[in-house]
Symmetry: C2
Subunit: 352 residues, 2 copies
C-alpha cells in the first residue's frame, strides 16, 4: 500500500474551490483584520458561486479545523492550521518591487563593518516587513580563524583579539600567571596563529590542546592560560550575538493580535537564548523556515509567527535571520523580504 502525498490527502477532503475560499479568507483577514463573512467574500473575490455555497464550504473548512468563528453569527478567522495550509500550498510568491530591491541594495552597500552590516540589515528588515526583525551575527562555530592578535597591556595582562573570516572580532582580557616581555608575546602570537589560522572554530579544540603540548617549558603556563580562555569563552559557551529591531511594530494593533499578554512577547524577545533557537538553527540558505502560532516552542510566542532563514556567503550558512509578527501577518510579502535580504547579505559577505 502506498501512502498518498500531502497534496492528495488535502485534495481528498477539500476540493479546489474550498481551497480557493480558504485563500480568500486568509487574504481578507490579513488585510482587514476582521472576521470575514461569506457575503463580503463573494463580493471581493471572483468566486463564481453564491454566498450560500461559500457558506457550505466554510462549514466544511471549519470541520477540518482550518478556520474558526469567534462566536455564532460572526465571520470566520483562519486557525494556525489554516495559515499553515495557506503558506504551504496557497500563497503565491509576491516579488519585491524594484524600488524595494533598490532600497535594499542601497542601504546595505553602504556598510563599512560587520557591526554595521548587521545593524543595517536588521533595521532594513524591520522596516520592509513592518514586523520585528532578528539577525544573528555570523556564528563563531561556523567561522574560521583569520588572525589572532595578542596585545600586551601590562606584563601580566594581555588582550586576545580574534578576527574571523566572517568579519567578527572578539576580544578577551587575559591575566597571565607570569610576567611576559614583548618577545614572549610575539612568540606566543605566531605559535597560535600558525596553528589556528584558517581553521574552523568548531574544529579547533583538538588543535588548541596540541598547541599546549607542543609548547616548551618556560612558556607553557602562559600558553595554557591562553588556550583556556580560547576554549572557555570563545568555543565552549559559544558567544553568539543577536540584533533586534522593530519592536515598536508590535504595538500596532496590540489588543487584537496578542490576546492576553503582549508583554509575554516582549519578554521572550529579551531572552537571547530564545531568539537564538528561533533564528539560529538553519542548514541551508535556500530553505526558509516558518513557524506559525502553536508551532512555536516557546510559550510567550504562541500567538506569533516566525519566518527565518540562514544566510552566508555562497551556499554556506554562517548565521540566521528572520522576522517575527502576529500570526495574521502578510506571509507572501514577509517571505519575499526575508529571502531577498538574506541573499543580499550573503552577497555582501562573499565580497569580503
Amino acid at each position: 500500500m502506498t501512502w498518498p502525498g500531502l497534496r492528495e490527502v488535502v485534495a481528498v477532503s477539500l476540493d479546489e474551490r474550498k481551497l480557493e475560499v480558504l485563500r480568500a479568507i486568509v487574504e481578507d483577514y490579513i488585510a482587514t483584520q476582521e472576521p470575514v463573512g461569506s457575503k463580503s467574500l463573494v463580493e471581493r473575490h471572483q468566486l463564481r458561486v453564491s454566498s450560500a455555497t461559500v457558506r457550505n464550504d466554510m462549514a466544511a473548512l471549519e470541520d477540518e479545523g482550518y478556520i474558526h468563528q469567534p462566536h455564532t453569527s460572526a465571520g470566520r478567522v483562519p486557525t494556525d492550521k489554516g495559515y499553515r495550509l495557506f503558506v504551504d500550498r496557497l500563497s503565491t510568491v509576491k516579488p519585491l518591487s524594484p524600488a524595494e530591491r533598490r532600497a535594499i541594495q542601497r542601504l546595505l552597500s553602504g556598510a563599512v563593518d560587520l557591526d554595521d552590516i548587521v545593524h543595517r540589515t536588521v533595521r532594513l528588515l524591520a522596516q520592509l516587513t513592518r514586523q520585528v526583525a532578528v539577525v544573528q551575527y555570523p556564528s563563531l562555530a561556523r567561522s574560521t580563524v583569520r588572525h589572532l592578535e595578542l596585545v600586551m597591556l601590562t606584563p601580566t595582562r594581555l588582550m586576545l583579539v580574534m578576527i574571523t573570516n566572517t568579519g567578527r572580532v572578539e576580544q578577551r582580557l587575559v591575566d597571565m600567571p607570569l610576567p611576559l616581555d614583548e618577545d614572549d608575546v610575539l612568540d606566543l602570537r605566531s605559535k597560535i596563529n600558525d596553528k589556528l589560522a584558517g581553521c574552523l572554530l568548531s574544529d579547533s579544540p583538538v588543535l588548541i590542546e596540541t598547541l599546549v603540548e607542543e609548547t616548551a617549558q618556560p612558556m607553557r603556563p602562559a600558553m595554557a592560560t591562553l588556550s583556556n580562555v580560547l576554549l572557555d569563552t570563545l568555543i565552549e559557551r559559544r558567544e553568539e550575538r543577536i540584533s533586534l529591531a522593530g519592536t515598536a511594530n508590535l504595538a500596532r494593533g496590540t489588543a487584537l493580535d496578542f490576546p492576553g499578554s503582549f508583554g509575554g512577547v516582549l519578554e521572550a524577545l529579551e531572552e537571547e537564548v530564545v531568539l537564538l533557537k528561533l533564528i539560529g538553527e538553519v542548514e541551508s540558505p535556500t530553505t526558509l523556515r516558518i513557524r506559525i502560532g502553536d508551532e512555536n516552542e516557546f510559550e510567550g510566542l504562541r500567538t506569533t509567527s516566525v519566518v527565518s532563514t540562514g544566510y552566508g556567503p555562497g551556499a554556506v550558512v554562517v548565521g540566521g535571520l528572520g522576522v517575527l509578527g502576529p500570526t495574521r501577518m502578510d506571509y507572501p510579502g514577509t517571505i519575499a523580504a526575508v529571502r531577498a535580504v538574506a541573499r543580499y547579505v550573503g552577497e555582501l559577505l562573499a565580497q569580503n
Copy 2:
C-alpha cells in the same frame, strides 16, 4: 528687592500640611494607580485633620497646578509639576535593602569583559527598578587610547583595532592605497602608538594631523589613509553605543500609563540618538538628572520619566546610565537603584 528662593516661594503658597497632602497623594497614586480621594487619604495617612480640610487643601493644590482631577467627582492625580515638587522636596531617600546591595555586587562582580559589564548592568537595573534600563558604553570621547593595533589581513587591507582605557575595543577595516609588507605595518603601528597612547580621544585630532605630517614620503599615503579612518569613524561621528533592557516592563499597565500611543515610546527607544541625548549628557557621577513627563524633549516620551546619572571610575564620568518609566513611577526607589548601580559600576571600572 531680593527674590525669595524656591523654598520660600513654595512655603508662601503652600503650608506644611498641604505639602504633606501632596506627598500622600503621590505616594497613594503610585501605589494604587487610581485617583485618590480625600476620604481614603485621611484613612491611610496620619493626617490629623478631617477629610473636609483635606479637600480644601486639595483645591488649593489644584489651583497651583500640582494635582488634577480627571473629571468632577473623581479623586486627584498628580501632575508633572506635582511629581516635580515631590522629587525635589518631599521624597525621602529609600535605601536599598542589604539583599539588593548584595545582589548588585554579586551580579556585577562576575563580569569578565566590558560588554559583559554593560550587559549585566542593564539587566540588573531593569530588574531592580522594574522599568526600562539604558546604559551607555563608556564614551570614546572621554576615553584615552591604551593601544592601537594593526593587523594585516591582505597586503592592501588592514584591520585597525583600538583599545581604550575604559575597556572598549573598536575595530575598522582599512583598505590601503598601496600594498604593504609586515615591516611597514610594524612601523606604522609603532608610530601611531608613540603618538597617541595615553591620549584623550577628544584631544587626538590635532595629534593625528601632525602624525601625517611627520611621516616620511614612502609611507605617507598609508598613514594618511589610516588617520582618515581614525578621524572619520572613531572621532568625528563619535561611535557611541547603548544597551537597553526591560522593555517588557512597559507592557505592565499599558493603557493607563501611556494614553494614546505606547508604540510611540517603543519607537523612541529604538532611536539610539534619542537614548543618547537622554542618558549621555551628564557631568558628574554624583548628580542625578530627572526628567518628568513634559520636561522631556522628545515627543514620544512626554508620558514617561527618566532618571539618569553618569558613571565612571572615581570622579570622572565616562558614560551615562538610567531608567525610563511611566511618570507615576516609584521615584525614591528608582533613584536609589540608579545611584547604587552607577556607583558599583564605577568601582568596577576603577579596578581595571
